[in-house]
């Protein structure tokens, strides 16, 4: 049973602060994925858990034991690197068994374990090969094998799939998930790819600029983004944002530019508040143009096969509607859009927090 507790962890490089007090609790058996844009501190956090970076402030505990002052080898973790970091002069078997050989495990044990792990990963045929003789996917498997063989309490993955091509990435993703279930281990994965994050995580941690923005299941984070940043970052189609103000009764919105959105009788937000409204493209439906409603002129259409992305020019920043693929649109025609009140995400204009 391995948990990872991160308490008020900070990291500075000289005067530059990259982590501003991160608090996280990762439970046993969880597949925690830390998602964020590059430079948000996610890799730094992972490397601090691994013991490759010093912890400037706060505490990290693995399985209840504070590891701040422990060497990586004493932390009972294994890490898979983005570029695999296989030892180029060692064969696959030697690469995988290096940690065991350092620990002076008996030869027979090493052979059995290598065979076992190679069986799990399907790399039994390459054991005598050097890393240069392997394809990207095979190297990735060897790197995973090197981690698995140690039977660590926690697996750390630093963007493990980003060096693979799209098809292989998808395949390895499902394999990674299957492996996690099979090993019943605690895993922490860092990525900037939200599809990867959503598909692997049972807990998604979204980070930005050295802070945790939101923690939750992928479904929760998608359905109820806690901040403007999360709303804009999660979702394969970027969310549309409109600035506006909630009416005095809290039941309708007036957007900058004149359009109004009605709350269908229900309370949609705190009265008389400057807000940013977020709507996902697939929550919008094209409708006949109406005076005073949200709408615009068709600027361009992206036909993705399963969906048509209609870019509407509303005279301001413009927005995107995901329309069914059979939609026929005239060029530069005016269209209105319909949206249900429950699909509106309201954020405080000043703080960016969800209302």
């Amino acid at each position: 049973m391995a948990t990872v507790d991160i308490r008020k962890v900070e990291k500075s490089y000289g005067p530059a602060k990259v982590l501003h007090g991160v608090d996280l609790e990762i439970r046993h058996g969880e597949f925690a994925v830390i998602l964020g844009p590059s430079g948000c501190g996610k890799s730094t956090l992972l490397r601090m858990i691994a013991g490759l970076e010093e912890i400037t402030g706060g505490e990290i505990a693995i399985d209840g034991r504070v590891v701040n002052r422990l060497e990586p080898r004493e932390r009972d973790i294994a890490m898979v690197f983005q570029n695999y970091a296989l030892y180029p002069h060692m064969s696959v078997a030697e690469n995988m068994s290096y940690s065991l050989r350092i620990a002076h495990a008996p030869k027979q044990t090493i052979r059995d374990k290598v065979a076992g792990v190679a069986g799990i990963l399907g790399i039994g045929d390459f054991l005598a090969r050097k890393p240069t003789q392997l394809s990207g996917g095979q190297r990735q498997r060897v790197a995973m094998g090197r981690a698995i063989i140690r039977e660590p309490k926690v697996f750390l993955f630093d963007e493990p799939l980003s060096n693979l091509d799209a098809k292989l990435r998808h395949q390895m993703r499902t394999e990674l998930k299957r492996l996690h279930l099979r090993l019943d281990a605690t895993s922490i994965l860092v990525t900037h790819d939200q599809v990867e994050a959503m598909s692997l995580a049972n807990r998604l941690i979204v980070m930005n600029a050295g802070r945790v923005e939101q923690v939750g299941t992928p479904g929760e984070v998608y359905a109820r983004p806690a901040t403007l940043f999360v709303a804009g970052f999660i979702g394969s189609l970027p969310m549309n944002f409109f600035k506006g103000k909630v009416a005095d009764d809290g039941r309708s919105l007036s957007l900058d530019g004149g359009a109004a959105l009605a709350g269908e009788g229900a309370q949609i937000g705190p009265p008389d508040r400057e807000v940013v409204v977020g709507v996902r493209p697939d929550a919008l439906a094209l409708a006949p143009s109406t005076a005073g409603g949200l709408g615009g002129r068709v600027e361009l259409v992206e036909d993705l096969g399963s969906v048509k992305l209609v870019h509407l020019d509303d005279g301001r920043d413009g927005f995107v509607v995901a329309a069914p693929p059979d939609t026929e649109l005239g060029e530069a025609t005016e269209h209105g859009v319909k949206v249900r009140a429950k699909d509106l995400h309201l954020f405080d204009a000043a703080s960016g927090r969800r209302l």
């Binding site: 013991g51 080898r73 294994a78 890490m79 690197f81 970091a85 090197r146």
Partner: protein, 307 residues
Amino acid sequence: MIERTPWLDLVCHILLIAGVVAVCLPLYYALIAATHTLPDVLQVPMPLTPGNELWTNLKTAMARGDLGRQLVNSLIVSVGVTVGKIALSILSAFAITYFRFPFRMTAFWLIFATLMLPIEVRIVPTYAVAAHPLQGLGWLLDQTGLRGPLESLTGWNVEAVVKWSLLDSYAGLILPLMASATATFLFRQLFLTIPEELLEAAKIDGASPMRFLIDVLWPMSRTNVVALTVILFVFGWNQYLWPLLITTEASMTTAVIGLSKQISAAPEAVPKWNTLMAGALLITLPPVMVVVALQRWFVKGLVDSEK
């Protein structure tokens, strides 16, 4: 790319052939001279075709001036210098590249600066140190007044220790030549090209710094080590000034010194060029053998380069 530049080609080839002649002709002369009797060699012009005295001359060369012993000395010194230089430079490059310690860059630049200081430049102070390495200790004991108490307490003969000398010893021949800025620099540059993730992976796998050096860096440096071995062995073998200075006993003379002493042994007599050249051939043989033997590994290392 296919280019047709006949005139440029011609000029280049003439230059190259001239270079080859300049390098090979003296060697050819040495070879020819080693195959004739002394009167033949002293003819003007010297014969340009091989004679049949090679075997006799080689035997004479081996017998004269204790060449066998000198070859062994040279071998010990060259191997010592080569192994020492590689061990020392790989360790210092490892320290400078992978450890953070105060004045790390100062240490690096100090080493780098000595690139410009060959042994010839520092030969007088180096000789002084090699003659009495522990003289400083004696001075220190005298200044602090600790010599008397130390001698009476431990029964050590401080004077004997201070008088200890490296002259006429293998250590004296080898140690001052061991520090190598060039090799340290080469290893440092090599280590800098090794991805940092390898170090991190090794750390996570539980490797101590020395394990990382032995298990990862050393195998990855093999090509460089082989190339350096060739260069350093030849460097050690061809040392002239330092062995000349530090050895006085005939039993410690190296082959190169021994040969040159034979030339100047009897100034009024004519040097026996035929046996001298035969000796020169014998002395050239070990470096050539090292080059030939390691050439294969050198090329092999380059071919299955693992980066």
